[in-house]
């Protein structure tokens, strides 16, 4: 029925049924029947059409069963029932589609944020092109109010950029030369010239979209069980309907079974909750990868934090230099040379310090090696240099004098990390690096503990630094001097004791631990592909307070899913009993069925508005 929209059809056929009822009241049964026939035909034809399409491909659809029920009712002269069943089915599917749209609205909102055009600068001229046609290394100009069309690096300009679509962060961030910008972010004011580094499907924004899309359709455990149940339920009820017809010849009863044979509320009960929950998260810059992860996250009782870059800012800075037998600048120069080849955040701090001091780092080092969890080594002008922690010195039999040992301990007691440099077996100096604790870390940990979680800290850093940081944040249990594989070991230990462990890290240095945990959580995921791929929950921004929120959201989603499942099972049971004791007939069966589907969807929609600030307010 292409000349009527679904909405118009529902309205028209509903009205016709009402008119027919009026005629019936006045005993004008011929007129009443005529209206009912037309109504059945109008409401029924899209259903028949769909049923026919699927039969053609050997699939028994709910539409086919409804069609049989409607035709059956028609033949036994139950015109009102036939019209009502068709109308209610159509109305139900219309309302279902409308309300389900709402549960998906967050995804649509996200999709709408996609950049469409780009202003490219080529041979000194500006040109508008479609965002999908931007290539790597293209130079793009973005002005106030425009969307950034690709991930890239700022080469010129100064602007405030709203990255809410990516990080969920509502406040604009200032961007100047060398800063990274993300596709999908909106330039608030100012202008930027950027060089495209990631385009099309590779941008962080596209990856978020893909992840959310996949996640929303990744099934939860309970959902898989329900789907299995539904697979058997429908044929069983059809069989029952046939048996009832053969043995009792009660056509009405047998047709009613067909109407209730699709456990609609049950089939969508879990998916709608998950879609709404994941959608809510996505809006806040929290990506939860699917239903199963939501269920697992709701059950976590231990949260393990990595220290560097997670509990701390991850931007370590050189705060003190102690050179032994050479100038401070010489010490910085040598260590920076070695560290310039390492990816370690501590190393980068030293390199940054050298740059700040204007020390040039020429590349005259050989045999560079990384000693995982210990440091680096290389040869410079035939001298063997090592830069790293105490462990590395021990392996290389470097002696530490009593005074120096005292100095190192003092530094560590202040929560600083001492990076030692030695030439051969001679200690040449100590560079102290400090990484500030995130201001919101203590509050976040307090909240997690208040929510009944056990919080621990795992770090590769030494005991004294670890103890200082743990103390400052309020974490009682911490494990220091761990190599990456020891972190994994620690998590496995906890798991074998029956704990459900969530591991929080930056997703770069702690990938094995994140992969081992029941739920791996990466912070500051925007821009780091590895983190987005490995972690089960990705916090796009590096705002820690999103962590308790995401765990609470997972709990709320799981609770919502359970409510829906319970309600849907109840409806299935009630409908069955109702039909058997003849309380429920064709039209009322259809109505209860459609009503239960709507209630399940509406319950899930509540999750879209879930916000735990309200809860927090109540608690405190």
């Amino acid at each position: 029925m292409k000349f009527l929209s679904k909405g118009q059809n529902v309205f028209l056929t509903g009205t016709m049924i009402l008119i027919a009822l009026v005629f019936q009241y006045f005993h004008l049964s011929i007129l009443a029947d005529a209206f009912l026939w037309v109504s059945t035909f109008l409401a029924g034809s899209p259903i028949f059409k769909k049923a026919f399409r699927f039969v053609f491909l050997k699939v028994i659809s709910i539409e086919l069963l409804v069609t049989i029920a409607v035709i059956g009712a028609f033949f036994i002269g139950e015109f009102l029932e036939a019209a009502a069943v068709s109308f209610l089915f159509l109305l139900g599917s219309y309302l279902e589609a409308r309300t389900l749209e709402k549960t998906r609205s967050s995804l649509k909102l996200l999709l709408d944020q996609a950049p469409l055009e780009a202003r490219i600068i080529k041979n000194g001229e500006q040109q508008m092109i479609a965002a999908e046609n931007v290539n790597l290394k293209d130079i793009l100009l973005i002005q106030s109010g425009e969307k950034i069309p690709a991930d890239g690096k700022v080469i010129e300009g100064d602007a405030f950029v709203n990255e809410a679509a990516i990080t969920g962060e509502p406040l604009p961030v200032r961007k100047t030369a060398d800063d990274k910008v993300f596709s999908g972010a909106i330039l608030d004011n100012g202008y930027l010239k950027i060089e495209a580094e990631k385009v099309g499907e590779d941008t962080t924004f596209s990856k978020i979209l893909q992840l959310v899309e996949e996640a929303q359709d990744t099934k939860a455990k309970s959902q898989r069980f329900i789907e299995k149940f539904a697979v058997y339920y429908t044929p069983a009820i059809i069989l029952l309907s046939i048996l009832v017809f053969i043995f009792t010849k009660d056509i009405r009863l047998s047709l009613t079974f067909l109407v209730i044979s699709c456990p609609g509320a049950l089939v969508i009960s879990a998916p709608v909750s998950i879609v709404a929950g994941i959608g809510n998260g996505a809006k806040q810059g929290i990506l939860i990868k699917g239903g199963e992860m939501t269920e697992k996250a709701a059950k976590l009782n231990v949260i393990a934090f990595d220290k560097t870059g997670t509990l701390t800012m991850g931007k370590p800075q050189v705060v003190a230099i102690q050179a032994i037998g050479l100038s401070q600048n010489e010490l910085v120069e040598v260590t920076a040379k070695l560290e310039s080849l390492s990816e370690h955040p501590l190393g980068r701090a030293i390199v940054a310090d050298a740059e700040k001091k204007g020390i040039l780092l020429d590349e005259d080092l050989k045999d560079f090696r990384v000693h995982k969890g210990m440091g680096v080594s290389a040869t410079i002008h035939h001298a063997n240099w090592i830069v790293g922690n105490r462990e590395l010195l021990k392996v290389n039999q470097v002696e530490i004098s009593k005074e120096t040992e005292q100095y190192i301990q003092n530094e560590e007691n202040k929560g600083r990390t001492a990076v030692m440099a030695a030439c051969g077996q001679e200690l040449k100096g100590i560079i102290s690096i400090s990484d500030q604790v995130r201001p919101e870390a203590a509050e976040t940990v307090k909240q997690l503990i208040a929510n009944g979680k056990k919080v621990i800290m795992l770090t590769g850093d030494n005991e004294r630094t670890a103890s200082f940081v743990a103390n400052e944040i309020g974490i009682d249990e911490y494990y220091a001097s761990l190599l990456p594989e020891q972190k994994v070991q620690k998590l496995k230990e906890l798991q074998s004791k029956g704990f459900k462990v969530g591991m929080v890290g930056d997703g770069i240095n702690d990938t094995p631990a994140i992969a081992t945990a029941d739920v791996g959580i990466a912070m500051g995921g925007a821009g780091t592909d590895a983190a987005m791929e490995t972690a089960d929950i990705v916090l796009m921004s590096d705002r820690m307070e999103k962590l308790p929120y995401s765990l609470n959201l997972a709990r709320a989603t799981t609770r919502n899913m359970k409510q829906n499942l319970f309600f849907a099972c109840l409806v299935v049971a009630l409908l069955l009993v109702g039909v058997l004791i003849k309380w429920v007939y064709l039209a009322s069966g259809m109505m209860l069925h459609e009503l239960s589907v709507l209630i399940v969807i509406l319950n899930a929609i509540r999750l879209l508005k879930y916000n735990d600030h309200y809860r927090k307010g109540v608690q405190s």
Partner: protein, 73 residues
């Protein structure tokens, strides 16, 4: 082995998603069908030497789902 993603219109009920999965998986060359109901996408992994993506599109159309766009990877 290739994967084609159809962006479709009119996927309004979750049970339709199951039907599409069933029908498409039964087609020539199809290894796996995944219907992303919420994203309104049908992802089909298929052996391009056996199956043909334009046939899949036709079947989706026949089932009453208009294909808005498609992407092969």
């Amino acid at each position: 082995m290739k994967t084609i993603t159809f962006q479709v219109d009119g996927l309004t009920c979750p049970s339709c998603a199951q039907h599409i999965e069933k029908v498409m998986t039964g087609q020539k060359g199809v290894q796996e069908t995944k219907v992303l109901y919420n994203a309104q996408k049908v992802k089909i992994s298929f052996d391009e030497t056996v199956g043909n993506s334009s046939e899949y599109e036709e079947i989706l159309n026949k089932l009453g789902y208009d294909v808005k766009s498609q992407k092969i990877a």
